[in-house]
């Protein structure tokens, strides 16, 4: 028996006892500080410290560190111990630098030197100390320094088994830091053949290494399949006495079996019929053994046996080609569902989630539905209940959806808080996916809000609205149901939101009934108004203006409410503004105009449910698919990638739809859905039906065209596979505020994210820009915002540049863009009569006041498009004042902090030639003139 107790370091024991006897945290800290000061002075002053003393102090430091105190010294002393010729000193030195990793370069060199010496030692124990240290620190430098020696150590015939084992894992660690460390060529085969090693410990370690290598390069290491299968076969068929010490509680080499079964899950089923037959035999044997009576009552025995069994089942599911095995696996898991051991129930539920997605076993899984529902309701352990919910979600299909959704709803009333939000998402997804009757869907979602309103995220209630808007067969029912739900004395705010929105759109469908007449609907909604948050109130105000359109008979009643909230009584500026604008709209606009502005929402484009994206974002990788897999195609490796791509693509499209209602955009416009449309509509009326608002978003995809943003303030500035950058800007006088939205389109987080705005040298002092910092991490599928404030001090030549850098999947990315902050953004359109215009035009006829440019139109001449551009450019388009009706003349004032600069512009399209337009701009400031000419001609017109 190796007794490790005994060689006491008395000073250490006393110190530890002191700490343990401390009555308070303060006393402990005091004692520790005293000790730290003592050790520090010893290390500094006492040059005669011997190895034993150093060892003692280093031990103390380790203990202090474990208690959570920072240790910022002692590294040097520890490094000195590495070269001690006493083993225990060397050992503690290595321990210290492994626990308190410090990458100070002067130390690293010394450490590496000691490691180098120990690696060459003839004593395997010393070699192992060195290998452990490399595996603990595993820095890039170490990979460089030792990248050569360790592979040699691993495959050399002279190396002892103990060292080989460590070398394999050490190499794995270095491989994780720098992938190029693994030599290719003949090494591949030598590494693979470690699977045949005599020593089981070596095989276990080597399997871990090979598993990592295979993940990087499956084709190169394909050879390991047959070796792994035969190794596995030898273990599985071995009796427990064959493997002696590697038998654990009567189970032969359970850890190695698990590792081999995992390794094989990197590949599709073996092509070679012999290998494949052998593998299937192994899997059958493992399943058979599960049915044998246990050889021991100890839990260790059943754990070890079942560890292998679960891994075998994972492999069967992964292969997904053997219906017989799949059904057997399912039955086996079914037995576990009612096992006494909580662990087994947990794992069985987890594995069944995977089985449910195979077309062969989906039905077999469904047989266990009742037990699973019971697990969800009755399990003591929330982890297990959570697994049961996951499984119900995975096994749900058309035939059992109603029952499962109902059971989940019932359970939700008493469910743990920690899993409610996820359950809500799952119920919402299932209800939508399997709804044949959409009235059922509406009922389910409203029930969700009623039962767990706090856990219903925006996406869920956005989605129900999207669906109701898209399906006219359910609109009347929805209106009626929300109306009824709103009559509850206390109803959740989310219910008010959904109710408000739906009644605003479809309230007319139930208005015929006296019990839900327009006035009753309005009173009902307004009775909730005062209990709601500003965001909901804003939404309700939008509903009211829609009511004005739908029900002219209650217009005065509603105008009264707008009046009340358009003044100081509304503390929220947004509400005040909204109320006054709606009030004016209801007063000024004709009925036809109102009807156009407040037309029913157009149908939302069909996309994948945004809720699914949220669920995936919450638990990437762990959410069971509620989708039955197609038969697996035997293309090695590519399946995984393909799936990833697919899910990435899904997330992207889903992201786009998350914002469908636009309600999550900045607080200034909580119900941008309505106001946005309003503005767009007005905009369209104003610019006589230009194809601007929606088409732009689509056109901008995968393209970056800074010129376009000269004439518009909002849209997608840039987009590629990784990121979408949206922009939204507002300008007032000489001030501008640009909000940039960075959306991560991938399924991994973007790291080291930074977005820097740089003012070109020519603009310094003329344009001030300030940008807020952005969070360095953009989570998968998430969007972050950045505010940029600009102040136009004086006429400036160029827009600032925007440099976006980030790391995605380890690859650094850099984007150089131009911030849409050209000088024309500060234009204020100026009305003037033809007389005034041409008087000023003539005054500015000197060469110093005039810039002129002839340019080719990039698009066919289209008066409407030109008008849209010019209006977007920011100047006032002056119609009917130019003697030549083909010409466009504009006037505007650029607001700068120093002064206001007037500017006149005339565009003479040359229709006959269809090749060139003459653009003339007149102004006192040359820079501005040239600038206006350049930017405008750059846009194509």
């Amino acid at each position: 028996m190796p007794a490790v107790r005994g060689d006491g370091m008395r000073g250490l024991a006393v110190f530890i006892s002191d700490i343990r006897n401390c009555k308070s945290k303060e006393a402990e800290i005091k004692r520790i500080n005293k000790e730290l000061a003592n050790i520090r002075s010893k290390f500094k002053g006492d040059k005669t410290l011997d190895g034993y003393q150093k060892k003692k102090y280093v031990c103390k430091l380790l203990f202090i560190f474990l208690l959570g105190h920072d240790i910022d010294f002692g590294h040097m002393e520890a490094v000195n111990l590495l070269s001690s010729n006493k083993y225990s000193e060397k050992q503690i030195g290595y321990l210290f630098i492994s626990v308190l990793v410090n990458t100070r370069s002067d130390l690293i060199n010394l450490i590496n030197q000691s490691i180098k010496n120990d690696l060459q030692s003839r004593n395997p124990i010393h070699v192992n100390l060195a290998l452990q240290c490399i595996a603990n620190i595993g820095s890039k430098e170490m990979a460089e320094v030792f990248g050569h020696d360790i592979p040699k150590l691993l495959v050399s015939g002279d190396t002892m088994d103990v060292v080989k084992q460590s070398a394999a894992l050490c190499l794995l660690r270095l491989f994780r830091t720098s992938q190029e460390i693994i030599p290719g060529g003949e090494w591949t085969s030598r590494i693979i053949h470690l699977l045949n090693d005599q020593h089981m410990g070596v095989v276990t370690a080597a399997t871990s290494l090979i598993d990592a290598l295979v993940k990087k390069n499956p084709d190169e290491y394909k050879g390991c399949i047959s070796l792994a299968v035969s190794r596995l076969s030898r273990i599985v068929t071995a009796s427990y006495t064959d493997l002696q010490d590697y038998t654990y509680y009567f189970v032969p080499a359970p850890w190695l079996s698990v590792k081999l079964l995992r390794l094989l899950q990197n590949y599709p089923p073996p092509d070679d019929p012999g290998v494949r037959g052998r593998l299937i035999e192994c899997l059958e044997t493992i399943l058979n053994k599960a049915q044998e009576p246990p050889k021991s009552k100890k839990v260790q025995h059943s754990n070890a046996k079942n560890a292998v069994l679960f891994e075998a089942i994972s492999l069967i599911i992964h292969m997904d080609t053997e219906p017989n095995l799949l059904v057997r696996a399912c039955n086996q898991l079914g037995q576990f569902l009612s096992n006494r051991e909580t662990n087994l129930r947990y794992l069985a539920l987890e594995s069944m989630c995977l089985l449910a997605t195979s077309e062969f076993s989906h039905d077999a899984v469904k047989k266990h539905q009742e037990v699973v529902i019971l697990s969800m309701k009755m399990e003591k352990d929330v982890s297990v209940r959570q697994q049961a919910v996951d499984l119900l979600y995975a096994m749900c299909d058309k035939t059992n959806a109603e029952e499962i959704v109902q059971e989940m709803l019932n359970y939700l009333e008493t469910a743990d808080y920690s899993i409610r939000e996820e359950m809500v998402l799952k119920v919402a997804i299932l209800a939508e996916k399997y709804a044949t009757d959409y009235t059922w869907y509406v009922d389910v979602i409203l029930n969700l809000i009623r039962i767990a309103g706090d856990y219903v995220s925006e996406e869920v209630w956005y989605r129900v609205i999207q669906i109701v808007i898209n399906r006219d067969d359910v609109q009347g029912y929805a209106a009626k149901t929300v109306f009824e739900a709103l009559q509850a004395p206390a109803c959740h705010e989310n219910m008010v939101k959904v109710g408000g929105y739906i009644l605003g759109e479809f309230g007319n469908l139930i208005a015929g009934d006296q019990r839900s007449s327009p006035s009753v609907q309005f009173q009902l909604l307004h009775s909730k108004y005062h209990l709601c948050s500003p965001m909901t109130r804003a939404l309700l105000l939008s509903t009211y203006i829609k009511f004005v359109n739908l029900f002219p008979e209650i217009k005065t009643q509603i105008q009264e409410v707008f009046k009340q909230h358009s003044n100081l009584r509304s503390a929220d500026a947004e509400l005040q503004q909204r109320a006054s604008e709606y009030l004016q709209l209801s007063i000024i606009a004709s009925h036809d105009m109102l009807a156009t502005v407040l037309e029913e929402m157009p149908v939302f484009p069909e996309r994948e449910s945004s809720i699914l994206a949220v669920l995936k974002k919450k638990k990437p990788g762990r959410v069971p698919e509620n989708e039955i897999r197609e038969h697996k195609s035997p293309v090695p490796g590519s399946t995984a990638n393909h799936q990833e791509e697919r899910s990435a693509a899904k997330t992207v499209s889903a992201n786009a739809s998350t914002d469908l209602l636009g309600l999550s955009t900045p607080p200034a416009a909580p119900t941008a859905g309505n106001t946005g449309v309003l503005v767009d509509m007005l905009g369209e009326l104003y610019t006589s039906g230009s194809p601007q608002p929606h088409a732009n978003n689509v056109a901008a995809q995968n393209a970056y065209n800074p010129a376009k943003f000269v004439c518009k303030n909002n849209g997608v500035l840039f987009e590629n596979d990784l990121i979408q950058i949206g922009v939204k800007s507002e300008f007032r006088q000489n001030l501008g505020r640009i909000t940039l939205f960075y959306g991560n389109k991938t399924s991994t987080a973007l790291q080291n994210f930074s977005a820097a705005v740089t003012n070109p040298t020519g603009c310094i002092g003329k344009l001030n820009v300030q940008s807020k910092k952005v969070d360095p991490t953009v989570e998968a599928g998430a969007q972050v915002q950045q505010m940029v404030n600009g102040e136009c001090v004086f006429d400036y030549p160029d827009a600032p540049s925007l440099t976006v850098t980030f790391t995605c999947n380890g690859t650094p990315q850099k984007l150089s863009l131009r911030l849409p902050l050209t000088v024309n953004k500060f234009f204020e359109p100026t009305e003037m009569t033809g007389e005034v215009f041409f008087a000023r035009w003539k005054n500015l006829s000197g060469n110093e006041q005039r810039s002129q440019k002839i340019f080719k139109a990039t698009q066919p001449m289209d008066n409407t498009a030109i008008r849209t551009k010019l209006i977007g450019f920011g100047m006032q388009l002056l119609d009917g004042i130019d003697p030549n009706p083909e010409n466009f003349v504009c006037a505007g004032i650029v607001h700068t902090s120093k002064q206001q600069i007037g500017c006149l512009l005339r565009l003479e399209p040359n229709k006959q030639a269809q090749v060139s337009d003459l653009l003339q701009c007149r102004c006192f400031f040359i820079l501005l003139r040239v600038n206006v000419c350049e930017t405008l001609s750059g846009t194509g017109h």
Binding site: V4, G68, Q300, A307, F310
Partner: protein, 170 residues
């Protein structure tokens, strides 16, 4: 991969912490705290696997633990590890400690934290299982002890020599 191995007592006092992925000191302490809070509020007869730790690895992260008398042994792992396999590995670790310390108790871990590290180093390396065969592990520990004893006797003889020398010179 095993991301970290933590041992703490029923009051959350850390007795061993070993991280196989780099975290700074602050983060290490936070992870220990969070893990203790997650694990300690669970009943003894519930399952030994637990999700919900937020500090390491996000969703691909599980805690697998065992509670022995006054101590919790927690292995923080990702999904590439077999839950039951790790559970047995914890058992191997504890049995090895028990053999080495002859009825291990919390005090042994406190006063011999260095030894506990050495034993662990024989089981797990760079976050991967190194050796699971207990008699093999015990042999290796035994060999290390021998080396150490050798140096103690060497030390004693050195002391003896010097005192002899002193005697002679005196």
């Amino acid at each position: 991969m095993i991301k970290a191995i933590l041992v703490f007592n029923n009051h959350g006092k850390p007795r061993l912490s070993k991280f196989y992925q780099y975290f700074n000191e602050d983060m290490q302490q936070q992870i220990i705290k969070e893990t203790f809070q997650l694990v300690s509020k669970r009943d003894d007869n519930v399952c030994n696997f637990l999700e919900g730790g937020s500090l390491i690895g996000g969703s691909d992260y599980k805690l697998i633990y065992r509670h022995y008398a006054t101590l919790y042994f927690v292995f923080c792992v990702d999904s590439s590890e077999s839950e039951l396999g790790i559970l047995d590995l914890i058992q191997v670790f504890v049995e090895t400690l028990d053999k080495c310390f002859e009825n291990v108790c919390e005090l042994d871990l406190i006063f011999h934290v260095d030894k506990v590290h050495y034993i662990l180093n024989e089981l797990v390396m760079g976050g991967m299982v190194l050796e699971t065969n207990m008699s093999e592990i015990l042999t290796r520990i035994e060999e290390q002890n021998k080396l150490e004893k050798l140096e103690v006797s060497f030390l004693l003889s050195a002391v003896f020599d010097t005192s002899l020398g002193e005697l002679n010179s005196g």
